[in-house]
Amino acid sequence: MHMMKADVMVDIHARNNHIAEHVHEHLAEHKIFAVNIMGAPGTGKTTTLENLLKHLDIPGYVIEGDIESDIDTERLRSQNIAASQINTFGACHLDAPLVHNAIHALQFDKPGILFIENVGNLVCPAEFSIGEDIKLLQVSVTDGSDKPYKYPLAFEKADIIVLNKIDLLPYVDFDEAFFMEGIRHLNKKAPVFKVSGKTGEGFAEAAAWIKQRARF
């Protein structure tokens, strides 16, 4: 019996990333552009994807990630949007194996856009690749302007940031300059679109940016 030391140097996300690559390849084969929607609970992620789909005149598909329930999926299906539900039963984020199972349950008849709504959480979803083309981070003015400073990774990794509930700006103490300054230190590339799920303002511009990025 003897002891030996083995250098490993293996990323703990390696297996997840490998499956994420497979998901991405599968979606690319079907000409599907995938958007991972991240944000805290109640920030309006489902409302945003509904509004974006209205402005994107391309086929839309949705995977809903929630700890429990299929409330959002039923809401989307009632609008004739092809939606599939993932329930994580306690897990705080979606990972690539979960999304892998869900995409194989969806029929991608035509090229289009797939919105994958992550579990409502501003922390963990940013740590896991799920095979997406871009990450959309949604924040709302009621969340507070300090969020880039408190949850930097989500802002650092975002490709597009959507600031929702701007119709409530007159009623909340949201320091927009402080918010934007935090974002610009973490992420110089991501555009920030100001929207209102209540009035529909701002979604046309956000949808146009996504459409251009997806090259549809």
Partner: protein
């Protein structure tokens, strides 16, 4: 809950190395950046339970923590961020995120191997 699945990955990675070398894992050295999103203490808590019945059972887990650092866009120096600030303490320039502090990997394992 959050650290449980990644602890399973850690045990899998170390167990594969043990199987390749026909040995049992005695020690795992893990590197965890403070901005990786994972807490060393939580991984430590799950480790013994997850390792049970695997080649990692009874092994010790050593975690090297890494403090996140920003890089100043003006003077290029690295520094630790203060709360609600990105300012460089050397020249007052703006700091931008780096990969330092986001590490999350198994560095090495020590194995007990049968003599041939």
């Amino acid at each position: 809950m959050h650290e449980y699945p990644v602890t399973v990955q850690i045990v899998d990675i170390a167990s594969e190395t043990a199987k390749k070398n026909n040995g049992r894992v005695r020690r795992i050295d893990l590197v965890v950046g403070e901005d990786s999103g994972f807490i060393g203490e939580s991984i430590q808590m799950y480790f013994d339970v997850v390792a049970e019945g695997t080649p990692c059972e009874g092994a010790q887990l050593f975690i090297e923590c890494v403090k996140p650092q920003l890089r100043c866009e003006k003077c290029g120096k690295h520094f630790e961020r203060k709360r609600f600030s990105f300012q460089c303490p050397y020249c007052c320039g703006d700091g931008e995120p780096t990969t330092i502090g986001k590490e999350f990997y198994v560095k090495s394992v020590e194995l007990e191997v049968e003599d041939q």
